[in-house]
Amino acid sequence: MRSHGRFSRSMLGLGLVFLYVPILSMIVFSFNNSRLVTVWDAAHSPTLKWYAELASNQQILGGAWLSIRIALVSATAASVLGTLAGIALARFGRFRGRTLLAGMTTAPIVMPEVITGLSLLLLFVALEHAIGWPRGVGAVTITLAHITFCMAFVTVVVQSRLIGFDVSLEEAAMDLGARPHTVFRRVTLPLILPAIVSGWLLAFTLSWDDLVVTQFVAGPGSSTLPMVIFSKVRLGVSPDVNALATILVLIVASGIVTSALWLRRRQQRREHDAQLAAAEPL
C-alpha cells in the first residue's frame, strides 16, 4: 500500500507541475520588457507595458466583446436546451427517441471539431441556398453552432445530478397534492440548480474558448477573440498575448473559486436545514 501510495502521490505532484508551469511562465513573461518573450530583460523588468498595449489594441478588444456576447447567448440557450434534455433522459423512463437523444448527447462531446465545424457550415450554406436564411455567416451562425456543441455538456451535467437524486422527493410532493409544474419549480429545479449553474459556466467557457468550429462558421468581420489570438500566435509568440492570458487566467481562477465557495455554502446550508428539520419534534 505504502510504496505505491508514495509513487502515485509524487506522480500527482509532477502532474500538477506539468499542468501549471506553462501558465506560470506566461504570467511571468507578461511582465518582461523584452520583445523576445522568453529572454528575461532584467534591467527593465517587470513592466506593465504589454498590458497598456493590450488596452489600446482594437482588434483584441473588439474580438473579446464579440466573444462575450456570443458566449452569453450560447451558454444561456444551451442551458435551457441541455436542462430539458437532461430531464427527459433522467426522468422520463423509456420513450420514443430516447436512444436517439442519448446518442446525440454523447457524440458532440467527442466529435472532432473540424467535422462539427464543416458540417454546420455546409448546413448553413445549404439553408441559405434553399430558404434564403441565414444571410451569410457571422455572429448568428457562430451562436447557433456554439449552442449545439455546448448543450451536450449541460445535458450530461444535469442528467447525472438528477440521477444522483432519487425520485421520492418529487413523489412526496406529488402525493401532497402539488401540481406537476409546482413540483418542478419547488422541488426539481432547486435540486438541479447547482448543476445548471455549472453547466452554464462550462458552456460559457467552451463557447468563449472555441476556435475550430468558429473558424468554419464565421464570416468576414466576425472575428472572435480566439480567432484574433490564433492569427497572432501563428506568426510567432507575441508578448501582449502573455498579458492577455494572465488577465484571463485571473478572471477564470477567481470565477471558479467563487462559484465553488457558493456551491459549498449552499450545500452546507441545506445540510444545516435538514438537521434542524430532523431535530424538530413533530
Binding site: 502515485s8 500538477l16 511562465s25 506566461m26 436546451l81 430539458l84 446525440m104 447557433l144 418529487e170
Partner: protein, 305 residues
Amino acid sequence: MTPPASPLARARSSSGRRLIAGIPIAWLLALFLVPFLIVLKISLSEVRLAVPPYAPLLQWRHGIPLPALHLSNYAFLFTDPLYASSYLYSLKVAAVSTACCLAIGYPMAYAIARSGAASRSVLLMAVVLPFWTSLLLRVYAWIGLLKNNGVINNVLLALGVIHEPLTLLQTDFAVYIGIVYSYLPFMILPLYANLEKHDVTLLEAAADLGATPFRAFLRVTLPQSLPGIASGGLLVFIPAVGEYVVPSLLGRTDQLMIGRVLSDEFFENRDWPLASAVAILMLLLLVVPITLLQRLEKRSLEAPS
C-alpha cells in the same frame, strides 16, 4: 436499464412531456444529424467553380431528375498517399497521446481518490482549473517553453546539461506534449470517478491473504478500474484523432494530421467535396470508438447508484 419513470413523467400530460423531450431532439436533429447527411451528400458531388462550390446531386435531363453520384473524391483519397499517411499519422499520434495520458493520469487519479476528503476537492479543482482557461493560450504557452531559445533550452543550457539547444518545437514530441496537456483532465475525471468508488477493504483482504501491494493492485484495483480506463481513453483518443490546434501550433510541417488536411482542403483549396470526403472517412474510422463510448456512458449514467 432505463431509469424508472418519475411522477413528473407519469403525471405530466403527454403533450408537456413531448415538448420537453421534443425541443432538444428537434434541435439536435436539425443542427447535428442533418448536417452529417449534407456532408455525406456533398462528398459525393463534384467540385466546381461556383457559389457554393459543388455540383448539385440531382441533375435534370429531359425533365427527369438523375442522381449524379461521384465516388471520385473517395477514389482520390485512396490514390494519393498523402491522405493515407495523414490518417495513419493521426491514429498513431492519438494512440500514443492516449497511452501517455493514461500513464500520467492513472497515478494522479489514484492519488486524489486515496487522499483525505478535504484535500480531495481541492486537488480535483487544481486538476480541472487549467481546463477552464483558454486551451489556445495554454497550447501557445508551450511555444515559449519549447522554442530553440525557449525556457526549457535556456534552463538546460544554463545548467550545462546540453551545449546546443535541442530542437523541441515542430516535432512529434511537441505534439504529444500539447495533446496530453490539453486532454489530461478528460482522462483523470472518469478514472477518479471510478477509483473513488472502490472498496478499500478488498485491498486489506488481499494484504491479509499475503498479496504484495503491487500484486493486490494488479489483481484487485486494476481490473475494477477498466471501465474508467476505457471511458477516459476514448474521451482522449476520439477528439485527438481530429485535433487541429495543437499540431498547427506545435507540430511538424512535413507531416500533417488529418484535421489540418481537412481544413486546408476546405479553406486553402476550396474543395468542399474533397474536404467532406475526408470528414466522412474520419467519421467511419471513429464510429467504433464512439459507439463503445456511448455504451460505457449509458452503463455508468444508468447504473443504480
